[in-house]
């Protein structure tokens, strides 16, 4: 298979049809949390609620660990996964920070300082993340 044009963007998962196929059940589970009754069921027993979905064991483990990078590597899309961190009462900024390896405070300060700079972050070969 030829390389996708976005293969060399660092630290980024593009949610394309191949990822969507892999993540179908994970994302459908996540969007089910838009209903209050499902949020209650999930909070009462996360494992039992996850077992109602045709997800892989690894996808379930990634959800239980709230490891969003892991979930995305298994086909999760951030807008679907947002229903999970909303259920946890967390903001987009807290969730985004958790994916960067920075603390919430460090991430918030980086945003106040103008965000992650494009320099060094547009191509994998030049990445230094600062």
């Amino acid at each position: 298979m030829s390389k996708k044009p976005y293969h060399d963007i660092p630290g980024t998962t593009i949610f394309d049809p191949a990822m969507a196929l892999m993540g179908y059940h994970l994302n459908q589970f996540a969007i089910s949390l838009m209903k209050a009754e499902n949020r209650d069921k999930f909070k009462a027993n996360e494992r039992a609620y996850l077992d109602e979905w045709e997800m892989s064991e690894e996808q379930k483990q990634a959800v239980l660990a709230r490891d969003y990078n892991w979930m995305m590597s298994l086909g999760g899309n951030v807008y679907f996964l947002a229903k999970i961190f909303s259920t946890d009462g967390l903001s987009f900024q807290v969730a985004a920070a958790s994916m960067t390896g920075m603390t919430q405070e460090e991430y918030a300060q980086m945003m106040l300082d103008g965000g992650r700079k494009p320099e060094g972050n547009l191509y994998k070969q030049e990445q230094h993340n600062g």
């Binding site: 969507a20 969007i31 899309n77 807008y79 679907f80 494009p118």
Partner: protein
């Protein structure tokens, strides 16, 4: 006849909606954001649009993994604010304009833009945050609103050129509607932001300001920018900016820039905002 008089572009960051709903607009973090919208709040009172054609994207709210339309038009009489996982925003129900929406649907499909028709849909922050920014906290939205949802969740979204061309067909569609209506077209989303992965938090002020500059007078050229440039330079979610090109395509070639605003940050995102009026013809 219906007439498009103006366009508004704005980011639709969910945290902005939360700041309004929770009464935080005067806090030091948020005050500079809302200051950038003081102009449009006065301007809209003078403009008094009858209908807003509001281009936005659904964020895995109305559309799950089962249905992902590229272009979807809301033809219902009303659309309720969605519960996105933390309860619905306390904002009014959105009232549509079914006859105009049906007319636009017919015209755009006959102009080769194959729309999906939506007769029942809840609308998320992508649609309601721009309304709150412009109209503030109100009992009822003061005009009718036609929601127009563009897929930017599943890659690839429509190209910038496709969006710009759709805007031009939209102008023809709206301006052939026989009722006298003052119509505005809004484009929402952006600006640079990335909400996911180790690169989350990317902001590209040079990209954003170039976009704000060129969409006014060089939109033909801007429309040719390929997806990969948005994703690489403005972040995986920065690609929402293609939606602004529908708004721009629907306006005349010559527009007057009434207001331009840019601020970093609102949560993870660069906020951009434009008010454009059609020059008299």
């Amino acid at each position: 006849m219906a007439k498009i008089t103006a366009g508004v572009a704005t980011s639709h960051v969910p945290a902005i909606g939360a700041a309004i709903d929770l009464g935080k607009t005067e806090q030091p973090y948020w005050q500079p954001v809302f200051k950038g919208y003081e102009y449009v709040k006065q301007w809209i009172k003078e403009q008094k649009p009858d209908v807003i054609f509001l281009v936005y994207n659904d964020h895995a709210t109305a559309f799950d993994m089962n249905f992902i339309p590229t272009f979807a038009i809301g033809c219902a009489p009303e659309f309720k604010p969605a519960d996105e996982g933390w309860g619905a925003r306390p904002v009014p129900t959105v009232k549509g304009h079914p006859p105009l929406a049906a007319h636009i649907t017919q015209s755009l499909i006959q102009d080769n833009f194959d729309l999906t028709v939506i007769n029942k849909m809840d609308v998320d922050h992508g649609l309601t945050v721009p309304l709150s920014l412009v109209f503030g906290q109100v009992e009822e939205w003061p005009c009718l609103i036609i929601p127009f949802a563009v897929n930017v969740v599943l890659y690839p979204p429509p190209s910038g050129q496709r969006c710009y061309d759709l805007g031009k067909a939209l102008r023809k569609a709206i301006e052939s509607f026989p009722e006298d209506l003052n119509v505005q077209v809004w484009g929402t989303g952006g600006m640079s932001h990335q909400l996911q992965g180790p690169r989350a938090g990317l902001i590209n002020q040079a990209f954003d300001n170039d976009f704000l500059e060129r969409i006014v007078d060089k939109a033909d050229e801007l429309a040719q920018v390929p997806h990969i440039n948005y994703v690489r330079e403005a972040g995986s979610e920065g690609i929402e900016l293609v939606m602004w090109l529908i708004m721009r395509g629907a306006l005349n070639d010559d527009v007057e820039l009434k207001h331009r605003f840019y601020h970093v940050p609102a949560s993870n995102t660069a906020v951009g905002h434009l008010v454009l009026e059609n020059k008299g013809d």
